[in-house]
């Protein structure tokens, strides 16, 4: 039996109820089409939309029941919106590190991009002087032009390499189910912990300190120094998915795969719970630079939201996959795979939105634009 026979068998196999299902579904689709309410519209309609929104806002402001309308609008079209067909410039200083299926890309403020090579994951060194990337069994420190500076090879696949804060004397990474540390010049590689979870380690962002948080395979969070000496550990109640320090290093947020996401203070003291709407999964979170306030993206199975502190900044169809603050904290970048867009949200509130279209093709030139949506790895300081 040949593959052609397989194809023929699968295409000729009777599929139950096909025509009835088609009839029922067309009824549902037709109704949805008649009632559809696009979240974002083609550019040619932007002016009409802006005028319609303006008219609605005026009506809302003039009528007492308009408050609810105003709240609804704020979720949907808050801020002046501008669409860029391509990432022609960053709205704030710093460099953006984006990882697509083609590898990591460094985006400069003028929008110029450089692909750093064929790597699967990447993150900035402090001050963005280097990028540490992984591929297969290799950890590689790269110059901003993509030239390798040093590399370390392990017998097991490596991932999640993260550079310690300034002056950047250490790099932590996962190798198989272990956590390892290597000096910032690629020497002195050693084992730090075994049986760790597939969660990126997070260095406490205090200059000159080399203390990091990691999760073990049993779901416990540990905070240890780079010699492996444990400072504290905690059980967040559900498997950790992401570990995030506040910029002053005083609080660690543990985003879990469950519904409770916990803050820990010094010594592992429980310091609160991230308040999220019911029935929403948290997909990403970041502390606002210099402020102990958290931005997070969450998804209820249909719509995604971006929340900063207690304020909902955006609501979209589909997920918001990643978040990153600009180095000055004035912009929040959100990746929106369903729309193939990056959304730059001007803070505070959302004073302005810059939506960049066609992100998949931007970071995978020549492709049909249906591949993996790029991951936002970081938005860091200029070198």
């Amino acid at each position: 039996m040949s593959p052609r026979d397989v194809r023929s068998a699968l295409l000729s196999a009777p599929v139950p109820d096909e025509l009835e299902a088609q009839r029922r579904t067309w009824g549902v689709v037709k109704t949805a089409y008649a009632e559809r309410e696009p979240v974002r519209r083609p550019r040619r309609l932007r002016l009409l939309v802006a005028l319609a929104v303006l008219a609605t806002l005026v009506a809302a402001a003039l009528s007492p029941p308009g408050r609810a309308v105003g709240d609804w609008l704020r979720d949907r079209v808050a801020g002046e919106e501008e669409t860029q067909p391509a990432l022609v410039r960053l709205p704030a200083a710093g460099q953006l590190l984006v990882v697509s299926g083609e590898g990591p890309w460094l985006v400069r403020p003028d929008g110029s991009k450089r692909r750093l090579g064929d790597y699967e994951d990447a993150s900035f060194s402090p001050s963005a002087r280097f990028v540490v990337a992984t591929r297969g069994r290799r950890v590689v420190a790269l110059e901003p032009d993509g030239d390798p500076r040093w590399s370390v090879t392990q017998p097991d696949p490596v991932a999640d390499a993260r550079w310690a804060p300034s002056p950047g004397f250490r790099v932590a990474y996962r190798a198989g189910n272990t956590l390892r540390v290597v000096a910032g010049d690629g020497t002195g590689d050693r084992l730090l912990a075994e049986n760790v979870a597939e969660v990126a380690p997070a260095w406490q962002p205090l200059e000159g300190r080399t203390v990091l948080a990691y999760a073990d395979a049993a779901g416990r969070v540990h905070v240890a120094d780079s010699e492996g000496e444990e400072r504290w550990s905690a059980e967040p109640g559900a498997p950790p998915a992401k570990l995030i320090w506040s910029s002053d290093g005083r609080f660690l947020l543990v985003v879990t795969t469950g519904v409770r996401h916990l803050f820990y203070g010094q010594g592992g003291r429980p310091a609160g719970i991230l308040r999220t709407p019911p029935a929403h999964s948290v997909l990403d979170a970041e502390f606002e630079p210099g402020i102990r306030r958290v931005a997070y993206s969450a998804f209820d199975g249909e719509r995604g939201i971006v929340v900063l502190g207690e304020e909902r900044l955006q609501r979209v169809e589909g997920r918001i996959s990643d978040l990153a603050f600009s180095p000055d904290g004035r912009w929040l970048l959100a990746g929106w795979p369903e729309a193939d867009q990056f959304l730059f949200l001007r803070l505070p509130g959302v004073q302005r939105i810059v939506a960049v279209d066609d992100v998949r093709r931007e970071f995978d030139p020549g492709s049909p634009g249906i591949g993996e949506f790029p991951q936002i790895s970081g938005w860091c300081c200029s070198p």
């Binding site: 299902a21 949805a32 696009p38 634009g369 249906i370």
Partner: protein, 182 residues
């Protein structure tokens, strides 16, 4: 991959502009393969209808921001197959074993039983694979995407697609000659 062409682009543009008739033409063009693909991954007619319906609804909700210059099929099929995988995984977590038992019985008929049509055997054998492997087989042999296209649609490395194709076809051994993935 069939379905993408100037005519389809015209249908998408017309549907974006508000033409129900063109939306219906687009729906009819894609329903059969989408429903079949969903069914061959989930092996449950009601679930296949839900999956395909959700995919078309997602397409309608996102129609205005769809680039009419791109082929519509891959966009829709990506949603269909990913939702079918999600549904199958969720069913596995709920330990609903009834369908599996039926399929196993169909895959190994008792001696002397009338032979099932070849397509039934292949479908039954397919049902014994994991949802991820079924999805890759369906994308390759029903929807006729290349391994590179499948990798992009499922957001997995191409090597993973090749290995799933190989393992999937290996698992169908006895019914299927193994084809080296491209």
């Amino acid at each position: 991959m069939a379905g993408a062409g100037r005519d389809e682009r015209a249908l998408v543009r017309a549907a974006q502009a508000g033409s129900v008739a063109d939306l219906e033409a687009l729906f009819r063009d894609h329903w059969g393969r989408s429903y079949r693909a969903a069914y061959l991954v989930v092996h449950d007619a009601a679930a296949a209808e839900d999956v395909a319906q959700e995919a078309f609804l997602a397409a309608v909700r996102n129609l205005d921001r769809f680039d009419a210059g791109r082929p519509f099929g891959p966009w829709l099929h990506r949603i269909v197959v990913n939702r079918a995988i999600d549904w199958s995984r969720a069913r596995a977590l709920r330990r609903e074993v009834g369908a599996g038992e039926t399929i196993e019985a169909a895959a190994a008929p008792e001696s002397g039983a009338p032979a099932a049509p070849l397509s039934d055997d292949v479908v039954a054998a397919l049902a014994t694979l994991s949802p991820d492997h079924r999805a890759v087989i369906v994308l390759r042999y029903v929807l006729e995407y290349s391994p590179g296209e499948i990798a992009r649609m499922l957001e997995v490395p191409r090597g993973t697609v090749n290995s799933r194709l190989r393992r999937g076809l290996d698992a169908l051994q006895g019914l299927v000659d193994v084809e080296e993935p491209q």
